[in-house]
């Protein structure tokens, strides 16, 4: 179906003044705040619209599962560095929640991958923002604003994403590291990830195979291991965002919380936390606040709100919201406005 037809169809409840929320694979429903239960659920199509490997760009419907996108790109030796916890997640879901993957240290945040968005605003008006080329400063960078806006500004229909060549080789390494492995960051040129759980550090290196071996030897990483460490998983989960220079201070607090499992992205400042009960997860949030950080609730956490903090510059954020959705119909409550 054509974009305009889809926009018209999906926009019908908005034209009728209904509250709406987009549902993709449902893998991010518990991230952030819940929206009104009475919202009309919208579904956005799935599928790759155009893909030109030599342009390093791909245009997809927002409802496309990440796994399906990566499979197509891999045939041409490319990828988009989206690494959702659950690969059945849709492209639109990952981008709406702004959840960057664990390879952010090398590949940058998810917001850097979005070039153009075709979407409808809260008045059901179809608009385009950004542009199809890998470099573009024509007009305001609305796509960046939509990343992490949890569907409260627009219903994203199609996205043009920046692709990257797949690395020639990649390898995970694991070393014992009771202390923060800050030295690993400088021992290597551009590691893709340095993950640390307070006992061990895992390093992901990407690039030329001989270079990987040479860097691993120089950094005393030993032999590659089979797999990445699993992200901590439990009924109650969150994602702490801390100034990476404060990670050591945060780790002291997290270590003191009994029953908390955590994995930190060294050099980035994202810390994935999980616990079997909500109280423990809330203790992690308290520890984060003590370090000037904040925690996004990703799952469970009964009685704990999604963000745990007021939005900065709330008046401005509200005016931005009103510019896109003056009637407040898009995912009401999902972001604490």
């Amino acid at each position: 179906m054509e974009l305009r037809e889809v926009a018209h169809e999906i926009g019908a409840p908005l034209r009728d003044g209904e509250h709406v929320v987009v549902t993709g694979a449902g893998t991010h429903d518990a991230v952030g705040n819940p929206t009104l239960a009475t919202c009309t659920r919208l579904r956005v199509p799935s599928g790759i619209v155009t893909y030109e490997p030599a342009d390093l760009t791909v245009r997809v419907w927002a409802g496309t599962p990440v796994r399906e996108l990566q499979a197509t790109l891999a045939e041409a030796g490319q990828e988009v560095p989206l690494d959702p916890r659950d690969p059945t997640a849709t492209v639109g879901g990952v981008i709406a929640c702004g959840l960057s993957g664990v390879r952010r240290l090398r590949h940058g945040p998810v917001r850097d991958a979005v070039l153009q968005v075709d979407a409808i605003d809260g008045q059901a008006t179809l608009f385009k923002a950004g542009g199809p080329t890998v470099k573009n400063v024509t007009g305001y960078d609305v796509p960046r604003l939509l990343v992490g806006s949890f569907g409260t500004l627009a219903v994203m229909l199609q996205l043009i994403l920046r692709c990257r060549p797949l690395p020639a080789a990649s390898a995970w390494y694991r070393v014992s590291s009771p202390d923060l492995p800050g030295n690993l960051r400088t021992a290597m040129l551009r590691p893709a990830a340095i993950l640390w759980d307070g006992r061990d550090a895992w390093v992901l290196a990407e690039g030329n195979e001989q270079d990987l071996a040479a860097e691993a030897e120089a950094a005393e990483l030993g032999e590659p291991v089979d797999a990445a460490p699993p992200l901590p998983d439990a009924a109650h989960r969150g994602r702490i965002s801390v100034d990476p220079a404060q990670l050591g201070a945060l780790a002291i607090r997290l270590r003191a919380i009994s029953g908390l499992r955590w994995l930190a992205e060294v050099g980035v400042g994202t810390v994935h936390v999980a616990a079997d009960d909500a109280t423990t997860l809330l203790a992690a949030r308290t520890g984060a606040h003590e370090c000037g950080a904040w925690m996004l609730r990703e799952a469970g956490g009964d009685g704990c709100d999604g963000f745990g903090t007021a939005l900065p510059h709330l008046d401005l954020a509200r005016r931005v919201k009103a510019a896109f959705d003056p009637r407040g119909l898009l995912a009401p409550g999902r972001v604490p406005l």
Partner: protein
């Protein structure tokens, strides 16, 4: 009113920090773009507090305001429209903090781009975006335009390198947008501020990412007898999975001009040359050098020259970076365009660009960031020739239209400013522009921050009843 404004500014910033002498105002009447405006007054803050005071004073007197760094912008982004107060940030030029372990720095907006890289060089770090004007342009200006440069192919433009911005918003309050933590709760206001060309406020302090210097760097000069072959090689390199640090193209005219100017050993009889830089770790770079060389030869390159040492590498880059100096020997005036097309459209669009130059009887040279499809058609001319401006104007419009038709955009790194605001409808529908208008209104409901920029007249609420761009405004 002007006297009161000046008195308020002097009171807040100290005597002689704000002036309105005719000679000085003339100096700030334009940036490096084509069109001049007119300023009501100019002031020189030393601190963020001064900037907030200047904005507050301007508001009090109903005067618009525009921030200005070195004035190197080519799209008229810092050109004063509607007789604003010009707030010059060049005296806020301190590198405030360098955090080597976390690879970031806090800088004031008036720090020069190259000075930042020099300041962090002792730590083996650099600041990646490197616009051609990097010796003169400021980080604040780079943030405003979301500036690029040859080395943005692999590392991304300014937006990917700004962690946080302390700003004075158009209502004269201050805010930190973004932060040092990887994500901030709520909307990415930092992301939309970068590239907003001074219409959403003024940056007073910026946290930037720094990159480690790669241990191995190789620079190649590929020599072609047909520009189509050079363009096809660009696509082939990207399609082969090689992502160079930089991938620049120069056509026959500019290659000759540069060679005559700097003597870098560029082939004077080439139809096009590609300058390719590959960096990283030793083995990967060696493999990429071999791959690029093979692809170039397979696509008809006459010769592949790999710089043997750092001196030769610097010489090759000197050729590329001297392009604008070199053309001064050919004609007294030039007009530099900036547009982006999908890489796969390079050959088609270049042909069209040359055809347009022929039809308009103009000399056109092309020196550009081929790796990301960022064209910089350069029209050289003598402005004293009667009627030449009309032809330059026509050629420019036709080139941009051709780029949009090929699936491209109006600007890759210079910005929209004044130059291209009225061309925005080529790319965006009225609904698209209305949304962008509402967005900037959310930051600046009174339309006082750098008026008449980015969006075409009629896109915003705040501008109702305001003066349009004067007659003779040139795209």
């Amino acid at each position: 009113m002007l006297d009161h404004l000046l008195a308020d500014l002097a009171n807040a910033m100290g005597p002689d920090r704000a002036r309105a002498e005719p000679l000085e105002l003339a100096l700030y009447a334009r940036d490096a773009g084509v069109q001049a405006g007119a300023a009501a007054a100019v002031c020189f803050p030393r601190h963020a507090d001064d900037v907030a005071a200047a904005v507050a004073a301007a508001r009090r007197h109903g005067v618009p305001f525009v921030a200005r760094g070195s004035g190197t912008g080519l799209a008229g982004g810092a050109t004063p429209m509607e007789e604003p107060l010009v707030i010059v940030t060049t005296q806020m030029n301190r590198v405030l903090d360098i955090d080597v372990a976390s690879r970031r720095a806090w800088v004031e907006p008036g720090v020069l781009n190259l000075d930042l890289s020099r300041a962090v060089a002792p730590y083996g770090l650099h600041y990646a975006p490197d616009p051609s004007s990097q010796q003169a342009c400021t980080i604040g200006g780079n943030v405003a335009t979301n500036a690029g440069g040859p080395h943005c192919l692999a590392s991304g433009v300014t937006a990917a390198h700004v962690l946080a911005v302390d700003v004075v918003l158009p209502d004269a309050t201050t805010a930190r947008l973004g932060g040092l933590a990887p994500d901030t709760p709520g909307y990415d206001l930092r992301g939309v501020f970068v590239g907003s060309e001074g219409t959403m406020g003024i940056a007073t302090k910026i946290a930037v990412r720094l990159q480690p210097n790669p241990p191995t760097v190789r620079t190649l000069l590929l020599d072609f007898t047909a520009i189509d072959d050079a363009a096809a090689t660009v696509s082939a390199i990207i399609a082969a999975g090689v992502l160079p640090a930089a991938l620049e193209m120069m056509d026959a005219e500019i290659t000759r001009a540069v060679e005559d100017f700097v003597g870098a050993g560029y082939p004077r009889d080439a139809d096009a040359v590609l300058l390719v830089e590959l960096d990283g770790l030793a083995d990967g770079v060696a493999a990429d050098v071999a791959a690029v060389s093979d692809l170039a030869m397979a696509h008809g390159a006459r010769n592949v020259r790999v710089a043997a040492d750092e001196a030769e590498r610097q010489l090759l880059w000197k050729g590329r970076k001297s392009a604008f100096g070199a053309i001064a020997r050919i004609a007294p005036d030039y007009y530099l365009h900036d547009a982006v097309v999908p890489r796969t459209q390079l050959v088609t669009v270049l042909r069209e660009v040359y055809a347009i130059a022929d039809e308009c009887a103009l000399t056109m040279m092309n020196v550009f960031h081929a790796g990301d499809g960022n064209l910089h058609p350069l029209i050289v001319f003598d402005a004293r020739v009667p009627g030449v401006w009309e032809r330059v104007h026509e050629a420019g419009n036709r080139i941009l239209t051709a780029c949009i038709r090929a699936g491209g955009v109006l600007s890759g790194e210079h910005g929209v400013g004044l130059e291209k605001r009225d061309l925005m409808p080529l790319l965006f529908s009225p609904d698209d522009l209305a949304l962008q208008g509402r967005l900037v209104d959310a930051f600046d409901p009174d339309g006082l921050a750098n008026p008449a920029k980015v969006l075409p007249a009629g896109s915003r609420c705040g501008e109702i009843g305001r003066r349009p761009v004067p007659e003779g405004a040139w795209i």
